[in-house]
Symmetry: C2
Subunit: 406 residues, 2 copies
Amino acid sequence: MAGAIEFVDGGTVTSPVGFLAGATYAGLKTFAEDKLDLCILFSELPCAAAGVFTKSAVRSSTVTLDRERLAQRISMRGLIVNAGIANTCVGEQGYIDAVEMTRLAAQKTGVSPEEILVCSTGIIGVELPMALIRGGLDQIELQGSGGPDMAKAIMTTDTRPKETAVTFELEGRTVHMGGVAKGSGMIHPNMATMLSFIATDAAVEPGFLQATLSEIADETYNMLSVDGDSSTNDTVLVLANGAAGNSPVSAGSPEADTFVEALRTVCTHLTRELARDGEGASHLIVVDVAGATDTADARLAARTIASSNLVKSAVYGTDPNWGRLLMAVGRSGAAAEEEKIDLFINGVCIMEAGKPIPFHRDAVVALMRQPEVTFRLNLNLGDGEATAWGCDLTEEYVIINSAYTT
Amino acid sequence: MAGAIEFVDGGTVTSPVGFLAGATYAGLKTFAEDKLDLCILFSELPCAAAGVFTKSAVRSSTVTLDRERLAQRISMRGLIVNAGIANTCVGEQGYIDAVEMTRLAAQKTGVSPEEILVCSTGIIGVELPMALIRGGLDQIELQGSGGPDMAKAIMTTDTRPKETAVTFELEGRTVHMGGVAKGSGMIHPNMATMLSFIATDAAVEPGFLQATLSEIADETYNMLSVDGDSSTNDTVLVLANGAAGNSPVSAGSPEADTFVEALRTVCTHLTRELARDGEGASHLIVVDVAGATDTADARLAARTIASSNLVKSAVYGTDPNWGRLLMAVGRSGAAAEEEKIDLFINGVCIMEAGKPIPFHRDAVVALMRQPEVTFRLNLNLGDGEATAWGCDLTEEYVIINSAYTT
């Protein structure tokens, strides 16, 4: 039984006790000179750390370095992130610069470089201007109120920062968990230029933290699709510093379910915010699939629908074009039998046992004008369930992505 | 050694000897009242027949029926096609109407219904108005010059008909092969609302015809992507009536290579035309991948690039954004090593051994203004090669697909 999880008003990644953050404009985001583009998240105490990363064969050196650091299985103290340049496809210099970024952040915070993780997001194929990063770091002030600045500093084409925090109890102690995320374009399952950083003052056993993050990422970030493209840099990192004073949560703990539920709550919230802020998006699309043969099939069907350009275009046009949903399920690879499928749009039944039900078209169109459109499909074959999140495809998406410079 | 294959000026599906076609406006294309929407292709002689179909789990009854008919392994005499309504997701009535369409076409042409194949394309979830089809059939006149009308009658959102024919020699006899195709939106590997009909006066052994079509479809139609969505109705059918008088081509024939090359030529031409006419497209995109570990990997990489919304948007914006190509290769699932990849845009080397080469940006942008943009990647890992075709993503695509009615 999971305990109550409550959202914190104005919550962010520095809501948990003992976390500081700070950001500056170092000059990397050439497309937005007035915005923050370099930041540090720092914990006053050593942290258990976990990460999940892009599965792309072409990846940033930051991903390579972070994987190495996490494999050491030592405590971490913080992370440094820049936006504007991805530090990807620049040959060996990429790894050298990634190491240098952690060295600079470690120097500033008085810890060892091995205790620092690093992420970059932005344009591919351009070397990091390390002089700007060195200069920028001098200006960063770490503060307990620094979360909102960090949420802004990691943005690229995002139109708004994404941050949240929750509070819950472990062994009667109040615990906090907060996070930030950036995304917008190039977002797809397998973690596409999506960065998310989560901090908690819970004490957590590192192996359990990693297993839990991997499981929850499959349910949340990996069920998110903005444009079907994956990135070279996608990363989710969690730092748990134990400042709450609970005994470390592990797989066998009575409190394990509560911790898992808290992480699910934070990740789901950030995933929804990422989908809602997809490039050019005017609608959040939620696809709930039930009755699939198994979870894998449910995920396949839900993700395929949420990723379909034709479904996304129909949502933009508030067109209850259920034929496109059936088409997407059909090609998804998930087991499906047309004559068993039930389909609902924002709660209205459109198809039952594979047969279209006459519906009040104008009413459904009106429902689809709401900022959130939910498609619910029951395949009526088994117990597999999954949810995927996406956004509609608009002219604005094309304009943004035909103009964004190399 | 394949003999010479020559394109026929004004060639179409009725260029081969003994094939007649005719079309009419039956009233099914409600979105375009002045257009043809029902047609028949008929052979004066019995034909060897072969087909490849959508792999979607949700498919039209026409696909079910055609599969059954081809499995009988008897000769075929023709096919009937309507555009406007897909005859999909209408329960049991779909199959009943598909059978009825073949019965009506058989009646008109004086053959048996079992000798007729059938295809439909258009809106999903609406029953075929059989009275309109019956009435329309009366007006159809079958003629040896009917190919161009057939090419028009199968169109939905296509902006122009697609047809071609070639001529070649088998055993010293002149042979013809012609085809028509329709596509535009919802086109992806696995044959998405793409219809193509090919006729030849060559005599061909049916098993060899089917094997050859399956192989060539994997190289051509299945390497085509307009929007990543597959349809419920995709079908390619080939009819070979033997009017040329050659001895039937089979796997062991000395002429087998020539026949295979002719079919490849016709299918490649139609595939390029389909890509070029993708919904809202302003550029044809050709992706040549070489040096992959094997053919499967080469196809995966080429198709992923041609399907990427970010690559497609960049082509629309004539932006030589090679980072997106690397991103697409990375996530494709094909084996790739960044430090080995060479990349060319319209013949200009942009990256060598994973390192960006300084290029004259304005010159490459100017090259990308041409109607055809070719990306060539060498992964330098093995001998796998493949080509994929696609088109750019434009505001027009979104407008078309947010307005097209359920």
